[in-house]
Amino acid sequence: MPRVFFDDRSVEVAEGLTLLRAAESAGIHIPHFCYHPAFAPEGSCRMCLVEIEGLPKLELACSTLVKDGLKVRTMSPKVVEARKGVLEFLLAEHPLDCPICDKAGECKLQDYFEEYGLFRSQFKERKERREKKFKLGRNLILDRERCILCTRCVRFLNEITKTEDAGILNRGIYSEVGIFESEFIDNNYSGNLAQICPVGAITDSDFRFKTRVWFLESRESVCSLCSRGCNIIMDSHPGHPRTPRPRRVYRVRARLNPDVNSHWICDYGRYGYAYLDKDRQDKLVWKKGGRETRLSWDKAAQILAEKIRSLVLHKKNSRIGVILHANLTNEELFLADRLFRRGLGVEKFFLADPPPGEGDDFLLTPDRTANRRGLQEIGLPVQAPGLEALSGLDLLLIFGHYLAAGTSPAGLENALDKVETKALFSSHKTGLDGLVDFIIPVPVIAEKKGTLTNIDGRVQAFAAGLDFEGDGLPEWRALLDLAKELRVETKYFWPLTSPEAVFRALQKEIPFYK
């Protein structure tokens, strides 16, 4: 492996790397605008120029390949001066509208100016006036005054979506990003353009003017809107600092995972976060004799456990039914299997999932559930719930709110009417709510912790991207509580107190997860 010296620090680096990447691997950041790891080097912003011993001119770190013995200076006066020069040029024609720019706070131009610039402007001329809100795409607004012409957007559309919708028009100082007239960018990946824009030139109309980024808290998560399992960042904040409100998601961004989604996510995943707030279950209720009573989960768990226990005691296991869905975590599906099928001998497992949608040939899968592969690998004997199969049950535990979507309301009402006790563990309000006896609010994937198995069999752990507000509890917790209450296999279930512990148990029993 070649050995390169960065500012006298000797670093061993992989063959074929560019200086910029090699430096990054050694923890040295070389400033850049146009370079993006997903694209071939462009070399146009000139921000990454570094000094190489023995060469008269500064060289591009983004395109120069490492060579054994290369001595690179990333912070020499000449290099710092050059960076300052590039910043001076960029800022000369850049509007000073940071106070109303969504990018402020995470803008590379701002950051680098703090680090390498801090000069007084000597620009006495008139700045070029350009279009401030050009509709570039479905959710994209282009501010041509802020644009630094790094062409990341153009290259994304050429190299990633291969739709080639945008290009550079005109020449010299009049150069601008443009599209074909009346054909704005409309593909399922266009939201990435706002994310890869290093400045505030392309902003997202979904996020525009809604908040300042420094109020946001960024948490890592995994997208659950299809079975790809793209890695994401959820940016949320709890309302205005003086008037705290429940934490809300303001934006979902792609998080790098070379093995799953690279740097990208689809627009379906990016903009589909409204479900987090809309029609959420908030109260744990018991409906008895036409009256709705709020109660604690502990109490609900006692009642449900009592019901289960008496059915099992009377060998009426076959009168218990469980409806699951493929948006439960590996841990939850495993616990459902372990507790109901193997622990209590329940046989009737049904599946009610959100309907499939349209997929594309990149990331979005037609399957709109996050863990179908997990369901398959854990091996639950699930079947689609024919309504007639539900009749004759005494107890039905319904996980998920998807049952209402696939069936006729009257038929469903009829079928459920015959079931004595129905408990619904659901995150969202649907027509199902009126047909059940217990409603236990549960978090969505974004609000809980666990693992998912994506379409390619990749197991991904995630933590809560958002806090779960309201009465209920996550399904894994509910299942463990029921197990405790029922006192089945206490030695097995009692030590399981976290998703991690459940996953370790799962690993021991299911070869796929070893």
Partner: protein, 416 residues
């Protein structure tokens, strides 16, 4: 009077027609190269001739050809750079207009030496008549067996296509030329890779200037030693100097490399026009740093001019007299590069425009004391930091004008 080489037969009526060209000994070099020499022998002779590129950079042509890999399955291409956009330069237009077959002959030999079967002549769009003349010459050459399949029965094939540019200076930069030829926007490419390995349509490509290729037949005919004797050991042959500006006889003058600049202006070009006095000379096209009147005792070759802090470039000599305001010169230079910057990289895109804005303000009588320093600082921030040579081409003449004529420029500042 020194012996002319490229322009020797310019006076002959109808030289652009193949019969006349052949009467003057034309296409003998192709016969010799294809029938008596191996490609390697041709390459070797060109290398020995110290033929340096006439487009401006002065890179040895033989060395450039030698960089083209021979053991790759891809086709190789030759691009003739006939974009001639450098202000002050008009030599290639004369060469192609008077003697198109000489260029074709050079093109055939170069292609033979490098193993090329398709050549493109990228000619600037404004040269409409020249392009038509080249196309007619290509037709004639095809009909006479010098182009097409099985040239002169030797089994060597070559097609030549004329491609017209659309008026951008940047397309004279070799990689922008390739992009333009591929049908894309004329933006320079990041180097490396160099065109010799990854060029037109990702294939190995040689790019030579019109004048460079026009020299090839003579090197083949007369040998490298003869060629060097026409010029200098490290800089063989003659140069077609294009003299313009305040001289008695503007025009093209073919002279040995190393001819004194003063001699060219005062002897060949007839001296200053109407008794005007010399103030400055731009010796190698607009991108060459300016020389003051007392700096012109210089041999005109690549190394001597580089040593004097300027460059031979395209050998276009622009003569400026004392009545011409240096601010007008600066205005013209600043405006040109700002207008022609392709806009791809930051320093050139914004730097040239910024300088142009300052210069325009100076010209409007609103210059301030620190403006000249600002221009120098900005030009220094462009120099050596751009993606392609256009940045230097803009920065160097601007720097030299501001440094050498600072006092005159200060005279234009407002003293309010």
């Amino acid at each position: 009077m020194e012996e002319k080489v490229l322009t020797r037969h310019f006076g002959v009526e109808g030289l652009f027609r193949i019969e006349v060209y052949r009467e003057q000994g034309g296409y003998k070099a192709v016969e010799k190269a294809l029938k008596q020499m191996t490609p390697a022998a041709v390459l070797d002779e060109v290398k020995k001739a110290s033929l340096r590129g006439r487009g401006g950079a002065g890179f040895p042509a033989g060395v450039k050809w030698g960089f083209v890999p021979q053991n790759v399955p891809k086709p190789r291409y030759l691009c003739v750079n006939a974009d001639e956009g450098e202000p002050g330069t008009f030599k290639d237009r004369y060469l192609m207009n008077h003697n198109p077959h000489l260029l074709l002959e050079g093109t055939i030999i170069a292609s033979y030496a490098v193993g090329i079967h398709a050549a493109f002549i990228y000619i600037r769009g404004e040269y409409e008549a020249v392009a038509l003349r080249l196309e007619a010459a290509i037709d004639e050459a095809c009909r006479n067996g010098y182009l097409g399949k099985n040239i002169l029965g030797t089994g060597f094939d070559l097609d030549v296509v004329v491609h017209r540019g659309a008026g951008a200076y940047i397309c004279g930069e070799e990689t922008a030329l390739l992009e333009s030829l591929e049908g894309k926007r004329g933006h320079p490419r990041l180097k490396p890779p160099f065109p010799a390995s990854v060029g037109l349509f990702q294939c190995p490509t040689v790019i030579n200037n019109v004048e460079t290729l026009s020299n090839i037949p003579f090197i083949v005919q007369n040998g490298a030693e003869w060629f060097i004797r026409q010029g200098l050991p490290k800089d063989g042959g003659t140069r077609v100097f294009g003299v313009s500006g305040m001289v008695q006889k503007p025009g093209i003058y073919e002279l040995p490399l190393g001819t004194n600049l003063r001699t060219i202006i005062f002897d060949y070009a007839g001296g200053m026009k109407d008794g005007k006095q010399l103030k400055a000379v731009i010796p190698g096209g607009m991108s060459a740093p300016i020389l003051t009147a007392d700096e012109i005792d210089l041999p005109m070759d690549f190394d001597s001019l580089a040593g004097a802090g300027s460059m031979l470039g395209s050998a276009a000599i622009i003569v400026i007299d004392k009545e011409t305001s240096i601010l007008d010169v600066l205005k013209s230079v600043a405006n040109f590069y700002s207008h022609e910057s392709c806009g791809q990289c930051t320093p050139c895109r914004i730097g040239t425009a910024w300088i142009n804005k300052i210069v325009r303000r100076l010209a409007d009588g609103e210059g301030e004391q620190d403006d000249i320093d600002a221009i120098i600082r900005l030009a220094s921030n462009i120099k050596g930091k751009t993606l392609c040579p256009l940045g230097d081409a803009a920065a160097l003449p601007i720097l030299s004008i501001c440094q050498k004529f600072r006092r005159e420029l200060e005279g234009y500042l407002s003293h309010a």
